[in-house]
Every structure is written in structure tokens, then in C-alpha cells.
Symmetry: C3
Subunit: 241 residues, 3 copies
């Protein structure tokens, strides 16, 4: 698959999200909830975010994908996360793991490793975090940073889109994970879904940075860019190898 | 009461909120907390949002109205919500129920029905949600969507204000509920308070959409519009029948 | 120390934050989390915000200061807060207490008083809140409002920067506390660190208000201002006595 093919597939999946408006359930930390929901809504997906273990199976069951983020892990999510994952696996819903700051805590790392055994379709994290986790065959790994790397062990893309302001706004990585959830909902090939989401997110970040005066005005323009981005933006701006 | 009368009353209540700066306690989901607090502050109300059952009665007691939103219902709010409602009922404070996504979960619906028995002054929700709940005489129902309907069983207004971007930003409905809490704090007629809040919110949404470039820039302009909206904006823009 | 000296020291500490990018752990309420994290990132600090008692010591241990905010105090933070403070005290990390709305609840006030016994380096609050707490020798007190007062019992600054819009946006005080945490991380003199942070925050607020059209557009400009503010802005705008 060429970079040009990725652009075409990314644009096709984006159109599908906008038309089908898939439900995506996101279990994420409190800082990231609002922006993650808004990233999903900006591309047309319908987020739900309950962490209540007594209803989590109903919500996962009526969603098409699941995103699990380990930031600010609280006692309920420690209960709800494995239940949500079990429901997703039983129902055949793809799920993504975002192991936030596992490099800062041995206990959180142990929890993340236990979840890796439950076979996420994708893990998305930064270099420090990925360094603590052992990959597993068939799990797509998206390592984001100045250059983003997406691989399923066999195929691999590197993407140099994005903007330094994204490091000066909280939860930008968490929101990238949420966006990937939307693409997993419509694209059965988890590698393609992930590469598409990461590519589009990085390009939208560049578009936003052109309008922003700093990290405060940046996130609103990022959401506007995700709402408006089209195949021409993707083709013209993609830096994929 | 004519649509013109509603505009006059809505503007009068808004002025009262701005002058009296009523305290409003809001028990809402984590995604909606920030924007709900900011909607209240934009019109001059003073929000509090604690979910701690050991202090909830003190906070409800020093507030003039209570808003209860069932999104992301967690174990504490399951405890705090009935305590807060009991305090509001005992002290004669009006309270509003926002039964978020009860159509997605039988358990959440059962919880909402139990709360309906505690007699909210108002329920505010969308069509899918209201379809699952049976109304009760004397409870004001605000069903918001492309057209908003507010009724107390006898009186009824339909309002066609608002903007499609409001569906592309998370927690816009939850924030409408919070705003209604501010109007319930100053207007004893819950039907009028609710219709006033929903009307002003929809008009502010239209004003915001004229300045926004997408769902990202929209919420900031919505808050600015709520801060600035005056009786002329209301009279000129109201689409009430 | 003269007001001019404070400006010089404030600018030097700000530069140090931007260069050293200190980690700051913030235990705060759900409304304030996102904006507090973004205030820290805007000046270059690295926030973490977990409230999980099983990892809190690891996070405090890898941070250079700790901020404790009592808004929306939940059962975990009631457990995690004393653990985090004990870790900070044991490791010699300065910590700040923000006793949000202690004037609204006797129980919350009792909790705040217990924490005062654990010797914060700084308390930051408004006049109503500070009135309920007795100071203690050596604890820096920052009382913010129309005029901000910072004192350590001996030294004292009054600062008249800031803007009324800051009262119309939620969590602006909480975010000032978070910012102070960044300055405590790089400046060993807690009085100077606090006065520097409060001064810079107020000036950034004035810079933001010049660009904002209301409370909605204000917070984004505040973050942009914190990202850009330099020693000339500080010297030209400071209203310190």
C-alpha cells in the first residue's frame, strides 16, 4: 500500500464516519473527556462515556468500537474497563488501549500489561509509554510524537504531520485515541483505520496551527479543521512514508 | 400567554439572574461540568457542583435551585442525587431532571423513573429520551431538538431557534439544563422559567453560529452570546408559536 | 524587595519554568482539571492529575511540586490527598492548598483545617474562604480578588492586575493555584514564587481581556497570553505595591 493509497482510504473512512455516524464508547480520564467527545462529534461520530459498571455492557453493546484510556485511573474504571473489554471482545467490537503515563507508575504498567493480554486491536501512545510495553503479534501499534509511526508488525507507515502546539495542550494524545475509535468503527482493517485517523489528526493539527495564536486558541481550530477537512487537504498535506 | 409575552418575561428573568446572581447547584456528568458552569457564569448565576454526599445538603441548602443530570452516573452521584433531591424538596427548591441517554440503558431508565417519583419541577431531554419516560401532571417537559417543545400539560410553546452546530458539540443539552436551573431560581412559574431558558439558549446558539467557523469555535461564541444577549436580540430572533 | 524586583524575579522564574519544564502534580476538582492542565502546559510545565491512591506516591515522587484543591471533593481524593501530602512532605516537595468554597460547608472546612496542620507552603483562595481559616506562621497566603494580596506574615505585595471577566469563567482561581504550583517547582522562596505566579496570571488576564469578546472567548486568550507573556509585558503592566 502506497502513501497515496492511504490518503484515499483515509478520506473514504472519514466520509463513512460522517455518513454513518457510528457510536463509539470511550472510557477515558477526566481531563480528556470533553475534548475527546468533541473530536468524535466534529467528525460525526456519537460518543458515549459512562464509567458506570452496571450499564457499561449496554453502552458497549450499542457502540461499534471501544476506547480505553488509563489516565487518572479511578476505582470504577478499574472495574468497568475489564467489563467493557470483555463485552467488546464477546461482541466482536474492536477496542483501542491508550496506556497513558505507564512509564510513571509500576502499578499502572501492571494494569496495562494485564489489559494487553485481553488483545486490543490497537495501542496508541508516545515513545516513553510504548517502551515499557511489549508488543504482541497482530496488535497495531501507533506511536505518536514528532513523527508518528503506525505498524501491525508487517505493514508500516511513518507520518510527519502535526504541530508542536499539540504538545502544549492537554489530552491531545487522548483525543487522537478517541478519533481512532471512530475509524475502527467503520474500517475493519485496524492498521488502516489507525493510520487513517493519525494522518487526519496530524493534518488537522497543521490546519489549526495556521489559525491559532497559541495553545489556547488551538483546540477550537483543531475541531473546526476536523469538521471541514476533505480529501484535497489530506492529499496536499500528507507527509507519509 | 402570547409569544411576545414570553419574550418579555424571558428578558425580565434574564435581567433578574444577572442582578441577583443566584446560586445553582448542578449534579452533572464529567463531560458537561465545565461548560455547564460556564453557561451559568455567563448569565451571572453562581454554580456549585460538588458530588460529595457528606456536604451535598449544605450546598443545596445555600443554592436556589438544583439540576440533576444522569450522564456518566457514578456510585457517588447515585447516593448524592437522591440526597440532594430530598434536600431540595424539603427546602422548597425547584429541581430539574435531565435523563441523559435513558434510551440506551434499562438500568439508567429505572433510576430515572425512580427520580420522577420524587417530582422534579422540570424534565429536559431529547425526543428519544422523553419517549421512554411517562410524564406526570404538573411536571414541565422540555423536549429539545430541531424544534423545542415546552409544556406543562396545559400551556405549550414550540420554539424553532437554535443551530445544527449545537448537535456537534458535546454537552450542549446538559448546558441547556444548567441554564434552565438559573431561570428556575428566579421565576416561580416553572413553565415560564423553562420556556425562557430554552428560548434564550436557542437564540444565543444562532448568534454564536454567525461567528463560529465550526463546532470548535462555537462554544466560546455561545458563552459570549449568553453574556451579551438583550431584549432586542430576543424579540427580533424569537421563533415561538 | 521592590515591585521592580518582583517583576524581575517573576520573569526569571517564568523563563526557568519554560526551560526546565517541571512536572507538577495537581489534585483538583473535575471542573478545573482541563483548564488547570492547560495553564501549566501553556507556561511549559508538565501536569499530572491522577487521583488514584495506589499510584499517587509515584506521581508525587516524580513531580517537583503538588497542588491540592478541595472543590468537588470525592471519596478518593479524601484518601489520596493526605497520602499525596505525606509523600510531598517526606520528599521535601512544596505543596499548595486551595480550600475551594470552605465557607459553604462546615465539613469541608474541617477537612481543610486538618490539611493546614500538614503545613502547606502556600494557601491560595478568595476573601470568603480565607476568612474561615486561621493562618499559621510561615505559610504564604495568597488572597485573590479585585486586588490580590500575597504575604508570608512578614513580606507583603498587593497586586491590582486581572480583569472582571475572570469572575465569569469557572475555575479561574483553581487555575491560578495550578500556575502557582509551577512557580513553586522552580523558586525555593514560596512567597516569591506565589507573588510571581499571581502577578503573571493577572497580567495575562488583562492581555486576554483585550482580545476577548466575552467570557467564552476569554480562556483561550488567557492561555495564549501565558504562552507569550514576556518580561516587557510584566514590567509595563504590573500594578504592584
Amino acid at each position: 500500500m502506497t502513501p497515496e493509497d492511504l490518503c484515499t482510504r483515509a478520506a473514504a473512512s472519514l466520509r463513512q464516519v460522517r455518513e454513518e455516524r457510528p457510536k463509539v464508547h470511550v472510557l477515558t480520564n477526566f481531563v480528556a473527556m470533553n475534548v475527546s467527545a468533541n473530536v468524535l462529534l466534529a467528525v460525526g461520530a456519537i460518543p458515549s462515556m459512562t464509567i458506570d459498571d452496571t450499564v457499561i455492557e449496554e453502552f458497549v453493546g450499542s457502540a461499534r468500537s471501544l476506547v480505553v484510556n488509563l489516565g487518572q485511573l479511578d476505582p470504577w474504571r478499574k472495574i468497568s474497563v475489564p467489563m467493557a473489554i470483555a463485552a467488546a471482545n464477546r461482541l466482536g467490537r474492536p477496542w483501542l488501549l491508550d496506556p497513558v503515563k505507564v512509564d510513571r507508575s509500576g502499578r499502572r504498567l501492571a494494569f496495562a500489561r494485564m489489559l494487553m493480554d485481553l488483545r486490543p486491536a490497537v495501542i496508541r501512545c508516545n515513545r516513553d509509554e510504548v517502551g515499557t510495553l511489549e508488543g504482541a503479534p497482530g496488535i497495531v501499534v501507533a506511536e505518536t510524537g514528532e513523527v508518528d509511526h503506525v505498524t501491525d508488525g508487517g505493514r508500516r507507515f511513518e507520518m510527519a504531520n502535526g504541530h508542536p502546539l499539540m504538545d502544549r495542550v492537554t489530552a491531545m494524545g487522548c483525543a487522537a485515541s478517541a478519533l481512532t475509535g471512530a475509524f475502527l468503527a467503520v474500517e475493519a482493517d485496524a492498521f488502516l483505520a489507525t493510520a487513517s485517523a493519525i494522518l487526519i489528526y496530524g493534518i488537522a493539527g497543521e490546519m489549526a496551527a495556521e489559525k491559532a495564536a497559541g495553545p489556547g486558541t488551538f483546540p477550537a481550530h483543531l475541531l473546526d479543521a476536523l469538521y471541514r477537512i476533505d480529501i484535497d487537504d489530506i492529499r496536499e498535506r500528507a507527509k507519509v512514508t
